[in-house]
């Protein structure tokens, strides 16, 4: 049996692993089979992670976190969790290969998943012009016109990145102002290839075998417009990945896992949560990393209390 199993391999999971490993808890980290490294694997330059004044590529940053976690004895498994039993004193984690792993504590740091617009044609044309990852698919839109949907940092990052390839990038946002950071906004607004379409929502995605255009509806005037684009990049935020713990862990009204105050303690003893899965607001690499630290320290205190409690009986009996 393990002391601690960490589920997730983004900044929260790896930072929890670094702390837990340095506390000699020999953590097992379940990294996922195809999405290991988390959100940052799909980004390019990360310019706001402290300690990297020149910026660092997202995948490189994650590789460094992984190395740091492994250096102190974290064991990493590249598989997916299919089942979780968190209610008992011993937590059971079942993986895609059928293996079952037991631990006294679990740190749950699964992050969030991209939100969809919710249009049938969006799903149908996914991979055929509809994308959630500019860094993965942008290069296929050389000298083409594309649209990015959204108004946050990730939307502007995608739009700016896509100008490397596309002739024209429309930024479609349902409001008249952006949530993105000032630095990202300034960069996008200064880019002659990016055109902002404010107060517009996507109502249609057109195309038989691949995207040929999208239909917009004005949020204020209801006016309909058609954009001839061959790509649509959706960046309208993300939702916490909680499907594995439904019915076991309490959620907040925002859908994130509920934790006790500034701690990582969930409603179940021995189960701690960290990163974007508990954070409806900040969702930054560095806040996730901090949150992973909190979870590892909380798990360590919990295990210490268990260890203190366990041998107490035989000791008293023998005296």
């Amino acid at each position: 049996m393990r002391q601690v199993i960490i589920i997730g391999s983004g900044p929260a999971g790896y930072t929890a692993a670094i702390y837990a490993a340095r506390a000699n808890l020999a953590p097992l980290l379940i990294a996922s089979s195809v999405e290991f490294g988390g959100e940052l694997m799909k980004t390019t330059e990360v310019e706001n992670f402290p300690g990297f004044p020149e910026g660092i590529m997202g995948p490189d940053l994650m590789m460094k976190m992984q190395e740091q976690a492994e250096r102190f004895g974290t064991e990493i498994v590249y598989d997916d969790v299919t089942e979780l039993e968190l209610t008992g004193d011993v937590k059971r984690v079942t993986l895609g290969d059928g293996s079952v792993h037991e631990a006294l504590t679990v740190i749950y740091a699964t992050g969030s998943a991209y939100r969809k617009l919710g249009l049938a044609d969006e799903t149908r044309l996914s991979g055929y012009g509809v994308s959630w990852c500019a860094t993965c698919d942008g290069a296929f839109f050389k000298q083409k016109k594309v649209a990015v949907i959204g108004g946050g940092d990730s939307a502007l990052e995608e739009a700016t990145f896509l100008t490397r390839f596309a002739d024209k990038v429309y930024l479609v946002h349902r409001r008249d102002s952006l949530r993105a950071s000032a630095a990202m906004q300034d960069r996008a607004k200064a880019d002659p290839k990016i055109e902002f379409l404010w107060n517009n929502e996507v109502a249609h995605v057109y195309g038989d075998e691949k995207v040929t255009g999208i239909g917009l509806v004005g949020t204020e005037n209801g006016a309909e417009t058609t954009l001839d684009v061959s790509g649509m990049f959706v960046a309208i935020g993300s939702d916490p990945r909680t499907h594995l713990i439904h019915g076991q862990l309490d959620l907040t009204p925002e859908g994130t896992i509920a934790v006790d105050g500034r701690s990582s303690r969930t409603n179940l003893p021995g189960v701690f949560a960290a990163g974007d899965v508990i954070d409806p607001t900040y969702k930054q690499a560095v806040t996730a990393a901090g949150s992973g630290t909190v979870a590892a320290l909380d798990a360590e205190h919990y295990l210490a209390a268990l260890a203190d409690a366990a041998p107490a009986q035989p000791v008293t009996a023998s005296v």
């Binding site: 089979s33 195809v34 290069a139 075998e209």
Partner: protein, 107 residues
């Protein structure tokens, strides 16, 4: 064992004229999900070597084939049989999900 690389030049003989179902993994160096799914495809190929062959095509080095098949998202994993596409799978997925997508070729 890692998958054989096919090219624009070899596509006709290696894929279109291949004598059994063959899956082409369209990939690129810079694509993280491609790198993630690659060892899974190697495993599937190894476990089903009598039924399905799997090869890779680098879309940067072989733009002609990538464009011909309208690749706009990678990894794109297309199964060819007798020169025709009979199955399209797009995006990195865990092994059980890929096996389910490819079930008809692995049975």
């Amino acid at each position: 064992m890692s998958a054989k690389e096919v090219t624009d030049a070899s596509f006709q003989s290696d894929v279109l004229e291949h004598d059994k179902p063959i899956m082409v993994d369209f990939w690129a160096e810079w694509c993280g999900p491609c790198r993630a799914v690659s060892p899974i495809l190697d495993k599937i190929a190894e476990e089903n070597s009598d039924k399905l062959d799997i090869v890779k095509l680098n879309v940067d080095d072989n733009p002609e084939t990538a464009m011909k098949y309208g690749i706009t998202s990678i990894p794109a994993m297309f199964v060819f049989e007798k020169g025709e596409i009979v199955k399209r799978v797009i995006g990195a997925k865990p092994k059980p999900a890929l096996e389910a997508d490819l079930a008809e070729f692995l049975a």
